[in-house]
């Protein structure tokens, strides 16, 4: 990476740059939008041990262990990942660290790619650890570096919370050289690192004292910044909300909080005393507002600013208008009534056929999180639940236990999700003898988050070969007798195997194994085309929801015929298998690349 230059970096790249400069030696995480590119960027550095772990808890365990071993360590995850890692996180606040340990939680207000929009600032308060909230790429780098200093000075893990706009947006950042300190080594200290009740009871007051000291630090920190302005309106704010406030009401006096736990309540109180009307502008929950109220400060906030969804300059303007501080904004023109364009499974996606089959069978489908969750939407519309990573199997077991359905109960789960949180669910199914079928959709990648490696792919984040987890052996070893493997591009075989597994009494597993068409390699096989004269316009191929299949102006018995866009068709053969009159054939005009 370059030294002393101005570069345009996303917040995620800026955090990776901070880790480089701060001398991080081990970094671990699990992919999750909007956090994923931090480790991907860091992995390119070469000198640093950067790894994907099977899930966020393991990543944080690795990070804590490395920190106790005496090297600076970074752990990264999306907001819901911290739920998975929370068990370790809560007690890591007791053990403290060896060398600096910083955990990045990338929250997703507005749920651009998430199942909820929980406000992870509460985790910092729950655990009793310091919390930093950068407001752009430049601060993402500076705050992350500072977080390592704080971690070491106060002997605590530090939480840095970004949001999607901070993580993904790009701004200009100045880079500096990497500085690695001498490794401290592991120093044995059971009273600090072995959290049996007797020792943990001693660590609890240490944690509370540390918070007192941190409070003093935050009161004096330059990250608590009083920005001069007209004192008729004072705003306490943090993170991206700070930027919106400055844009919308540039004249107001602002107390910008770079550290939002613990809070500099003395500074906030004197700020409150010097302004006529005090507002808190924050995204999602009234985290700051409630704390100010609890401290006896008269403040306004969520009465005017939304609690659900992302903030925006517009939402902040509307809030101040509702509060009578700003003029009402000019009405925004309605977006034109254009057709919506929701996300879709790709042409040739190996997830399509299994859901066509499940729909045909009429199973109750406990789904999970990944690209395949798109099968919940039309036209496949073959998924009945989706809650948290790995939940599908346990929920299928519960659905079967409830006796609430006569239909077969099937769990569908991606390969990475299975390794992340699905294995205990499968053990539950064996242990408590559930009559469920588990479909492991093995596409050899973490497709949803952009095609990362995982323990089943046989390749590490740094591109090195490693031993892949054998899914068949794993399922057998926990006690599943009926384990089948099928190519999901063979529709009839997929139907047969799923039907057979459902007929099996007790837990069964069907593994569909066909690589993703996008990652790690973009698949482009010989495309198909429709022989127009042969098409009977039955439109069965349309049930697959393939983006490459389009209508033509020709009709048959009043129904429209179809055509295939050969530039996007990947040649998966699924529509040809579905076509009763066999009107879908290999495109005779196609020339394989490199041969033309």
């Amino acid at each position: 990476m370059t030294v002393d230059t101005r570069v345009l970096l996303s917040g995620n790249e800026a955090i990776a740059q901070a880790a480089v400069e701060a001398g991080v030696q081990v970094a671990a995480g699990y992919p999750g939008t909007p956090s994923t590119e931090i480790l991907e960027t860091l992995a390119r550095h070469g000198e640093i041990d950067v790894r994907w772990s099977p899930n966020e808890k393991v990543a944080l365990d690795v990070a804590l262990g490395a920190s106790l071993g005496g090297v600076r360590t970074l752990a990264t995850m999306k907001h819901v990942g911290l739920n998975v890692a929370a068990d370790t996180f809560m007690t890591a606040a007791y053990t403290g660290v060896g060398a600096g340990l910083v955990l990045i939680s990338a929250d997703d207000p507005g749920m651009h790619s998430s199942q909820n929009e929980q406000d992870n600032r509460f985790y910092a308060r729950l655990a009793g650890v310091p919390l930093l909230e950068p407001s752009d790429s430049l601060e993402a780098k500076e705050f992350t570096k500072l977080a390592f200093e704080i971690s070491e000075e106060f002997d605590t893990p530090v939480l840095v919370r970004t949001t999607t706009r901070i993580s993904h947006n790009r701004g200009v950042v100045t880079t500096e050289a990497r500085r690695v300190r001498e490794t401290l080594g592991f120093s044995r200290d059971p009273s600090k690192y072995v959290m049996i009740p007797a020792y943990a009871r001693r660590r609890r007051p240490v944690l509370l004292e540390r918070l007192e000291e941190l409070t003093t630090y935050v009161e004096e920190s330059p990250l608590t910044a009083d920005i001069a302005g007209d004192s008729t309106v004072g705003v306490v704010t943090s993170g991206i909300a700070y930027r919106y406030v400055r844009e919308v009401i540039p004249g107001a006096r602002v107390l910008k909080l770079g550290i939002t736990h613990p809070l500099p309540m003395d500074r906030i109180k004197s700020f409150a005393a010097e302004v006529d009307r005090l507002f808190v502008v924050e995204e999602l929950d009234p985290f700051l507002e409630d704390a100010l109220r609890a401290a006896g400060i008269d403040v306004e906030g969520k009465a005017f600013f939304p609690r659900a969804g992302e903030l925006s300059p517009d939402a902040v303007r509307k809030g101040f208008a509702a509060a009578g501080v700003l003029e009402a904004p000019a009405p925004v023109p309605e977006p034109p009534a254009t057709v919506v364009r929701p996300p879709l499974l790709c042409p040739g996606c190996p997830h399509t056929a299994p859901f066509l089959v499940l729909k045909r069978i009429g199973a109750v489908v406990a789904g999970d999180i990944g690209c395949y969750t798109l099968a919940a939407l039309e036209p496949l519309a073959a998924m009945d639940t989706c809650v948290a990573m790995g939940s599908s199997i346990g929920m299928a077991v519960g659905l079967a236990a409830s006796g609430g359905t006569e239909k077969p109960v099937v769990a569908t789960i991606g390969d990475s999700t299975f390794l992340h949180g699905g294995i205990p669910g499968l053990i539950e199914a064996v242990y408590n003898e559930a009559d469920v079928t588990v479909l492991i959709l093995d596409n050899g990648t973490v497709a949803m988050t952009g095609g990362q490696e995982h323990p089943g792919t046989g390749v590490t984040l740094q591109g090195e070969d490693t031993r892949p987890v054998d899914l068949v052996a794993l399922c057998r070893s926990v006690g599943v007798d009926d384990v089948r493997v099928v190519d999901p591009h063979d529709l009839a075989a997929t139907y047969r195997e799923i039907e057979g597994a459902i007929a099996h009494k007790g837990p069964s597993v069907v593994i569909t194994n066909r690589p993703c068409v996008v990652a790690p390699t973009k698949v482009k096989d010989h495309p198909f085309t429709v022989v127009a004269e042969a098409c009977t316009a039955c439109q069965l191929c349309m049930t697959a929801g393939c983006p490459s299949i389009v209508w033509t102006d020709e009709t048959f018995e009043g129904r429209r015929k179809v055509a295939i866009d050969t530039t996007t068709c990947t040649g998966c053969t699924l529509c040809a298998q579905l076509c009763p009159p066999r009107a879908i054939v290999l495109d005779p005009e196609w020339e394989a690349p490199g041969r033309g």
């Binding site: 345009l8 939008t33 930027r243 517009d314 925004v332 879709l344 790709c346 389009v550």
Partner: protein, 214 residues
């Protein structure tokens, strides 16, 4: 052209919206201009609508307020129309004429709207609208995937942004891409040619450039 300029890039997942926005941003930064790039990736990339913003100048956020974009680059007609509320009355709008039919529309049995109607809706708001066949120009340059690079070239040819052309070309050449740099430069040059043909055409209206004209 003032030093500040708000650009919206709109298209469909997979078309290279984010790469185009990044190239613009990197070029602005290389030219010593202040810049913020606003983008979201994730689910939207699975064939969904994608939008990015590039704010050149000393900006506090990457959000472009309603009705204030100076330049809009639409990699697909419907997606260009979708961002009409962002366009200022001064806006220069570039539209790639090759449509990508939304599958939701196909499944509902609907037809892709008429291109003239889309252009009219844009021209009702923006000052200048240029329609070009960037997909064909990219294919002619050697790779259809370079539609975004052709559009960037057209933007340079039109001198629609305060970023110097050599900085834009530098960003194209320096991008992290699997496509040969000579092909990328060729696509940029074709776009620049298409843009130059129409630079200086001022006033509402449309200029439709036939495919592969240069």
């Amino acid at each position: 052209m003032s030093a500040s300029c708000d650009v919206v890039v709109a298209g469909v997942g997979g078309q290279g919206v984010l790469r185009l926005a990044h190239a613009l941003g990197a070029a602005a930064a290389a030219a010593g201009l202040g810049v913020r790039v606003g983008q979201i990736y994730g689910l939207s990339q699975r064939g969904g609508s994608v939008e990015a913003t590039v704010r050149i100048g000393d900006m506090r956020t990457a959000f472009i307020p309603p009705a204030s974009a100076d330049v809009v680059v639409g990699l697909e007609p419907l997606e260009a129309q979708r961002v009409v509320p962002k366009m200022s009355p001064r806006a220069t709008v570039l539209v790639n004429r090759t449509p990508i039919v939304p599958t939701s529309l196909t499944l509902a049995g609907g037809d892709y709207p008429d291109l003239d109607g889309i252009v009219e809706a844009i021209a009702a708001v923006a000052r200048r609208v240029y329609v070009l066949d960037a997909t064909a120009a990219a294919a002619a340059a050697g790779d259809r995937r370079l539609t975004n690079t052709v559009m960037l070239g057209a933007l340079a040819g039109l001198e629609a942004s305060p970023i110097p052309t050599d900085a834009l070309l530098g960003a194209v050449a320096g991008a992290d891409s699997s496509i040969d740099v000579a092909v990328r430069k060729a696509a940029f040059a074709r776009g620049a040619g298409l843009g130059r043909d129409h630079a200086g055409v001022v006033g509402a209206g449309t200029a439709t450039t036939p495919a592969g004209r240069d």
